[in-house]
């Protein structure tokens, strides 16, 4: 599903690499927990996996296609079709209601739109069933996202990442803004919904307590051959 080979990445205008990963794979439907302290390059890795950033050397493949071999527009289309993404916070367009936010990927990807429609009849109903799956009360479905609590917003974000059953869901510390009970409930929802959709999940966090239910756990500092810089 995802393959990394001989990856080297440096931020533009930075003199040194921040990531150097020789090999990393994620299988279809596999749920992988990537952990590491803040600033070890987790978000950068996710940017590379999602094809928003391109490696300086080596390659990152999604579904067998190297991101670097695609044009910018094809990368955008590829990401829209096959990747669901969850941020730490501020995932939603605040002026759009929950259903509108969940259906966003279907505006950019006909593949996701067709799959969502095939699963539930139409896109709106697919969104509704996902919102129900992540436990958002029906009265909140048509409220603007700005009026939802942080926990509710993250659940809407999970539903959005999963609409149209993308092959890969990438989550960047989605629980960091949630307190413990909400966090645990969210983890259950996310893992369960990914399993239902058959999507692989790459979940990045500094919090190793979350790792238990995953198929595999990976330490980014161990994987990354660039040694973390020691602040002087």
């Amino acid at each position: 599903m995802i393959e990394i080979r001989q990856l080297r990445y440096a931020w533009p205008r930075a003199g040194h690499d921040v990531l150097a990963i020789d090999a990393f794979e994620v299988a279809a439907g596999e749920r992988v927990f990537v952990h590491g302290p803040s600033g070890c390059g987790k978000s950068t890795l996710l940017g590379l996996l999602a094809g928003v950033l391109l490696p300086r050397e080596g390659e990152v493949r999604l579904l067998g296609r190297s991101w670097a071999s695609l044009s910018g527009a094809r990368r955008d289309a590829m990401r829209a079709d096959h990747v669901g993404y969850i941020f730490q916070q501020f995932n939603l367009l605040p002026w759009l209601d929950a259903v509108g936010n969940v259906t966003l990927p279907c505006r950019f990807s006909s593949t996701r739109r067709q799959r969502a429609a095939a699963a539930a009849g139409d896109v709106e109903r697919a969104a509704a069933s996902l919102l129900a799956r992540v436990g958002l009360a029906e009265r909140d479905w048509h409220r603007p996202a700005a009026q939802l609590s942080v926990g509710q917003q993250q659940r809407v974000a999970a539903a959005r990442a999963l609409i149209g059953a993308p092959e890969v869901v990438i989550a960047d510390e989605p629980t960091s803004a949630l307190d413990a009970p909400l966090r645990d409930a969210f983890m259950d929802l996310l893992l369960g919904a990914c399993r239902d959709a058959g999507s692989a999940l790459v979940f990045v966090s500094h919090d190793e307590r979350l790792a238990a239910p995953f198929d595999r756990r990976v330490s980014l500092p161990a994987l990354n051959r660039v040694r973390a810089e020691v602040p002087t």
Binding site: P12, G47, A80, Y85, F87, P94, W95, L104, S109
Partner: protein
């Protein structure tokens, strides 16, 4: 892209407070530009419409601009007068239909006094061949009964609060010398003219004979010592004018204009000149039109400032939108979509602003036009936009769209550099 348009509209609606400020600032800039342009053309029109229907203006030999300045605008003084004999001689030319002699030089509280014949009120046309109209009263009679009658222009009446029957006295010259008053021979206001937006509004009209009468006991610019001729006595003198300042000529047909002009210019009795008012007014406008260019420069600066405001507002809003753009990127929008989104918004905002400004300028002319006409004598026309106005409108739109591309391109580059994490 069509899916994006709905998102763009909802996003813009969400920021309607800031955006409407931008729309208003563009509308104001457009309003200023359009009304400046309207005023510029209409001031020019008012200026060049100071006289019409007159084929030639005749005066002592001087420059055409100078002649127009004193004969039509009553500014400055003539260096020489024209003998009345010469005027009568010219009037006998077979192509000449009418002659209205004019005698200038006195004033009334800063307003020029024009001695002329009652025919002036029929023959003098302005603007698009419009005749003078009386708001109140009538012309002076032209015979001895009307000797001390005066007709005042609209602005004279308004500024000095004159009504019919009011007694006024004239000053000798421009009124700058104290005591040089024709106080012994007061005039009665018998007519008030309707506003014209021309120098007529600022003129006191009396008969040629009246000018003679008030100067009977004057010599060398001062009252003659020991001589006093009472107003009633003056009627017994020969009041036929010996000389005048200038004369308006109307011809039977336009074709003869150059022949008559040559006839006047080559007149053997004394050095005279005849000018075509239209040509001379254009020449005069070239002299006074510097202010017009300053006005144009000013409005260009106004436009630049408000478009800079547009860029600033969108750029400032960009930071608060970085998260929004990152979300869109994460769900599959490309940098091209982001660029398109911002450019579409900028174009829409500019279009709305320009349309609003154009509408406001029309409303302004409709609402304030009559007041401006009455107050400043500038007739603002409520007409279709001129070519120059269309040009300005187009320039505002083009500049606004170009300005909205600046934040668009910045967002494009940010979204490329940020990856998916807007915090970076």
């Amino acid at each position: 892209m069509s899916g994006l348009l709905g998102l763009a509209a909802r996003s813009a609606w969400n920021r309607r407070g800031t955006l409407s400020l931008t729309v208003v600032s563009i509308a104001l800039a457009t309003l200023l530009l359009l009304s400046f342009e309207r005023m510029r053309t209409d001031i020019r029109d008012s200026f060049t419409s100071a006289v019409s229907g007159t084929d030639l203006v005749v005066g002592a030999r001087t420059g055409p601009v100078q002649l127009m300045l004193y004969a039509i605008f009553h500014l400055g003084g003539a260096t020489n007068n024209v003998r009345m004999d010469s005027v009568r001689e010219i009037a006998r030319h077979r192509a000449v239909e009418w002659v209205v002699p004019m005698s200038l030089g006195d004033s009334h509280r800063g307003f020029a006094v024009l001695g002329t014949t009652p025919a002036y009120f029929e023959r003098f046309l302005y603007g698009d061949r419009q005749a003078l109209a009386f708001a109140q009263g009538r012309a002076f009679s032209g015979d001895l009964d009307g000797l001390y009658q005066a007709v005042v222009g609209a602005e004279v009446a308004r500024r000095l609060g004159y009504t019919l029957g009011r007694q006024v006295t004239l000053s000798h010259g421009s009124g700058a010398i104290p005591g040089a008053e024709h106080a012994d021979k007061p005039f009665t206001v018998v007519g008030i003219l309707a506003p014209t937006g021309t120098p007529v509004d600022r003129t006191v009209h009396v008969s040629l004979e009246a000018i003679e009468a008030i100067h009977l006991d004057w010599g060398g610019g001062a009252p003659m010592p020991g001589v006093h001729i009472a107003p009633e006595q003056a009627r017994k003198f020969d009041l036929a004018p010996k000389q005048v300042t200038a004369a308006l000529l109307g011809l039977k047909g336009r074709v003869a204009v150059f022949a008559v002009q040559r006839h006047v210019n080559e007149y053997a009795g004394e050095p005279l000149m005849a000018v075509l008012p239209g040509v001379a007014l254009d020449e005069l406008w070239d002299v006074v039109g510097v202010g017009e260019r300053a006005l144009l420069g000013l409005s260009a600066m106004v436009a630049v400032v408000s478009l800079a405001g547009l860029v600033a507002v969108v750029l400032a809003g960009l930071n608060e939108r970085r998260r929004e753009l990152a979300v869109l990127r994460a769900v599959g929008a490309g940098p091209r979509h982001v660029l398109w989104l911002l450019a579409a918004e900028g174009a829409l905002v500019t279009l709305l602003g320009a349309a609003l400004g154009a509408l406001l300028s029309v409303l302004l002319v409709a609402a304030a036009g009559p007041w401006i006409q009455a107050r400043f004598g500038i007739g603002l026309q409520l007409s279709a936009p001129t070519a120059a106005q269309w040009g300005l409108l187009g320039a505002v739109l083009a500049a606004g769209f170009a300005a909205s591309l600046v934040p668009g391109i910045r967002a494009y580059r940010l979204s490329l550099a940020d990856g998916l994490s807007p915090q970076g």
